[in-house]
Amino acid sequence: MGDAEEKEALERLRRLLLSPEQARLTELDADLSEPARLAAHLRKALPLAVKQSAGAESRLGQALAPILEEVIQTTIRRNPRLMAEILYPVIGRTVRKAVWEAWSQLIQTVNGALETRISFKSLKWRWIAWRTGRTFAEIVLAQTFVYRVDQVLLIHRESGLLLGHETRATEVAKDKELVSAMLTAIQDFVRDSFDIAEETPLGALEVGGLKVWIEQGPKAYLAAVIRGNPPAELHAVLRDTLEQVHFEFEPVLQDYRGESEDFATVGQFLLGAMRYERQVGEEGSGPWYALALGLVPLFLVSWFGFYSFQTRHRLAVIQGVLDATPGYHIVAVRDRGNYLKLEGFRDPLASPPGVVLGPLADRYQWLEAELTPYIALHPSLVLKRARRSLAPPLSVRLTLNRQGRLSAAGGADAAWLARFEAGAPLLAGVTAVDARDVVVLKTRSELLVAELTAWELRFEVDQAELSEEQTAEIAMVAAKVAELNSISRAQNEILVVEIQGFTDASGSRTHNQELALRRAESVRAAFVTRGIPPDVFRVKGFINAVAGGDRDRRILLAIQFQQP
């Protein structure tokens, strides 16, 4: 065997034995010398390496820190916005947290300050209580109401004589006969001094925390003595009360000769106006420092005494209010802690108890009314029932006198008149019917014109936007306008509906002029959205020169036909 041969055989053997290792070595060499391949390997190992190194001794961290710092610095220098964006969620939260902490500290400080203030206040209240001989709780109550009607006086308009008077048991009423006469004299004085027309009602007097709201009626007026800040809705409550009194006592008011007996029962009507609303949150803010003064027992005793008195008084007022409301007959009113239970009878046409009681029931979470339905013969409900079942056209006015005579007046078609004459006598509470003032309108278009001109839409003070209720009413009227429009077209006439907006006399002329127009415009817009061509309408604004109350703020329609 030659040398070369031997060499080659050895080489073959070596290749045979070592070739896998050889290949592996070459690969490893390549892994180490080619950066791309090394990176691929490191990528797999680095996370683990970092993790392990972070666990034991943070040499890696220490080694990396300066680099990271440098990297961060460079990044911020190069692109500060990027950094801000990255940090925004963190900073936002941090800042909020800091602000919240500062805020709650501030609140604590304020609370502290308030408490000391209240403690001064409570001392003041105690002083007032001691001075006036009333309980501390009463004083607290008097000072923690948003508003409270303390007294209601019903006063004969002409003579200033007192017709009726209701007061809270907790209020000391000054001589009421003198007060009512003086109120009348003051109104005369104001009217005379400022040349105000006789009919103009004097709305309110105000002295310190005390307000006197005056609601004028034709024969009598109502003066409500109110503490705090009453809401505007109270005006409506007073007006309703006054209207009810005028309705119930109409004959005696007509010719009043100073006989108090005539108005012996007026109190139940006035009770309904004794509304109040408490201040939220102040109730039960027990002054702990009073403990230190040893006054808590005293406070509690008087509070509980007053509380039970107050509950009884409240229930009596609630029962009074409901009983005075037509369509209610209340047998029992019970305070069940968080809810109020009513037992008795209710005409389904009467307003729901929650509406009648308004803020009186606010302190209860809910009302449980076990009210059996019945048909009340109170005139207002008889009238309501008649309106429902007889469905008079808008141009007919139904009235009911005290003897139960139901009268209809205005324009109607023959079919309705027949329905009225046949159906009205069958209604409960109607003893006679009178249709002498009904004018029979022969054509459909005559009836529609009469209905549209009789229609009116009233507005709240300084209000030109339409409520849901108003929009619904306009929808009903729009159907009539549309019908009249198609009739007049068929007869080759052009229908022109003038929408007249009115305002009351309060406020500036320019504002009122603009308001009157805005009212008319919003009604026009509502008609137009109901599909009536806009060119049917003209709008006009008017200002009522002499205030006449609610009826001043309204919309009326005037109808014309033009030849093409």
């Binding site: 004969h156 308009r157 002409e158 003579s159 200033g160 004589l161 007192l162 000054k174 001589d175 006969e177 003198l178 007060v179 006469a181 003086m182 004299a185 003051i186 005369d188 004085f189 009217r191 005379d192 006789e198 000769r257 100073g258 006989e259 108090s260 007996e261």
Partner: protein
């Protein structure tokens, strides 16, 4: 229980306010007379119809008829006219006021009070004049705010006339 509004009328300083001062119950001070021109007081009297409350409107002196505030007179059931017996001119004012009241409100119960009857020396109203007034249908009473003479009687008499 009856209530009646009564107006007290007459010239300045005939003693209207002091006439009633000790016979009535009031809560308003005299400043109301000079500010709003009216002061209200009341007095309870017993008549044949039972207890009656008189709500008395003491009106500021009305020498100038133009300035009488008619609204203050409305609803009144009776009138007390006051004359100063030492100043006969005050009677003329009262007669004019009476004519105004009759024109505006018709015939209503009224009483004429000749006040300051305690000042006998200065009394200038002739007896014959008083007789003429009585003959003309006036109910006349001589009163003194100082001594209280006839004042309570005057309220009682007017009340009886009003409830009748």
């Amino acid at each position: 229980m009856l209530q009646k509004k009564v107006c007290l009328l007459g010239s300045f300083s005939v003693g209207k306010t002091s006439l009633i001062a000790q016979f009535v119950h009031g809560i308003f001070g005299e400043k109301y007379l000079t500010t709003i021109g009216v002061k209200i007081d009341k007095r309870r009297v017993t008549t044949e119809k039972g207890e009656t409350t008189l709500v008395i409107w003491d009106l500021n002196g009305q020498d100038d008829l133009q300035k009488v505030r008619l609204a203050n007179l409305r609803g009144s059931s009776g009138f007390l006219f006051v004359v100063d017996g030492t100043r006969p001119a005050t009677l003329n004012v009262v007669l004019e006021l009476d004519a105004l009241v009759q024109r505006e409100m018709g015939a209503l119960p009224r009483l004429l009070l000749l006040n300051k009857c305690d000042l006998q020396d200065e009394w200038l109203l002739e007896a014959s004049r008083v007789e003429e007034l009585r003959a003309a249908g006036w109910h006349v009473k001589r009163t003194s705010a100082k001594t209280g003479e006839q004042v309570a009687e005057a309220f009682g008499a007017l009340a009886e006339m009003m409830v009748r």
